[in-house]
C-alpha cells in the first residue's frame, strides 16, 4: 500500500492563479517531511523540511505546511517558471536515514 500519496497527479494553472498541492502519509512516527522540485531530465532540488505539526516554511511563492496526517505546498501567484514536478518524501521513525517518496504532482503554469 502507498504510504505517501500526492494529489493531484497533475495540475494546470494560469499565471497568478494560486493553488495547493497535497501530500498525505499513512505512517506513524514521522521524523521529517521533505518537499523537492524536479525539472524534466534533472535531479530533484531540495525545497523544505518540516518536522512537526503546525510548522510552516516559506520560499518566494511557495509555502509548506504540516499537519499530523498531511502536508500542503501552497503556491501563491505562480509564474510559468514554477512549472515542474513537486515531490514529497517522509522519513519514519524506524526507517533510518532512508526516505519514502510520493509519486509527485506535475504543475504546469501557463501565461
Amino acid at each position: 500500500e502507498d504510504q505517501v500519496t500526492q494529489s493531484p497527479e497533475a495540475l494546470r494553472l494560469q499565471e497568478g492563479e494560486s493553488s495547493s498541492l497535497n501530500c498525505s502519509y499513512t505512517v506513524s512516527g514521522l521524523r521529517g517531511l521533505f518537499w523537492y522540485r524536479q525539472d524534466p531530465g534533472k535531479g530533484p532540488e531540495f525545497l523544505f523540511t518540516l518536522y512537526s505539526a503546525g510548522e510552516e516554511k516559506e520560499k518566494e511563492r511557495l509555502k509548506a505546511t504540516l499537519t499530523k496526517k498531511e502536508s500542503f505546498l501552497h503556491i501563491t501567484a505562480p509564474k510559468p517558471e514554477d512549472s515542474a514536478t513537486y515531490l514529497c518524501a517522509v522519513r519514519m521513525n524506524q526507517a533510518g536515514t532512508a526516505l519514502i517518496f510520493g509519486k509527485g504532482t506535475t504543475l504546469s503554469v501557463s501565461s
Binding site: R31, G32, F34, Y36, G41, K42, G43, P44, E45, F46, T49, Y51, L87, A89, R91, G96, T97, A98, L99, F101, G102, K103, G104
Partner: protein, 113 residues
C-alpha cells in the same frame, strides 16, 4: 552549496554488459544513496551507505551492487545489464544525523539495448 555529480548524463549499454555509475559529493556527507526513477513508479531506493565500506539494501537491490571505498564517492554497479534496468538513476547524499535532507545529483539516463 552542496554539489553532487554523476559521471554520465546519458549512457547506452548492451544487455549483459557490466555497468558502472559513479557519484561524487563535495560536502563531506556521511550518507549516500542510489535511486532509480521510472514513470508511474516514482523514486525507488536501490542501496544506501552510511559510512565508508558500509552499505544497506534498499527496496530494489536485485541486480545491483555498490561500492564505497572513499567517503565522497559511491558507485552503483550493474553486474549484467538487462533491458528492465533502463531507467533514470539518481544519486543523493546527506549529513549523518537521521532526518536530514538529501541532495541529489543531475541523474544518469541509462538505456540498455
Amino acid at each position: 552549496d552542496v554539489k553532487v555529480t554523476q559521471s554520465s548524463r546519458y549512457l547506452v549499454k548492451r544487455t549483459g554488459e557490466k555497468v558502472f555509475l559513479e557519484c561524487v559529493q563535495d560536502m563531506d556527507h556521511e550518507n549516500m544513496f542510489w535511486y532509480r526513477q521510472d514513470p508511474g513508479l516514482g523514486l525507488r531506493l536501490i542501496y544506501f551507505s552510511y559510512d565508508v565500506k558500509m552499505k544497506e539494501k534498499g527496496d530494489i537491490p536485485e541486480g545491483y551492487s555498490v561500492s564505497r571505498e572513499k567517503k565522497e564517492r559511491f558507485s552503483l554497479i550493474l553486474e549484467s545489464a538487462s533491458t528492465n534496468q533502463t531507467s533514470m538513476y539518481l544519486c543523493a547524499s546527506s549529513l549523518g544525523p537521521p532526518g536530514r535532507e538529501q541532495y541529489f545529483g543531475p541523474g544518469t539516463r541509462l538505456t540498455v539495448t
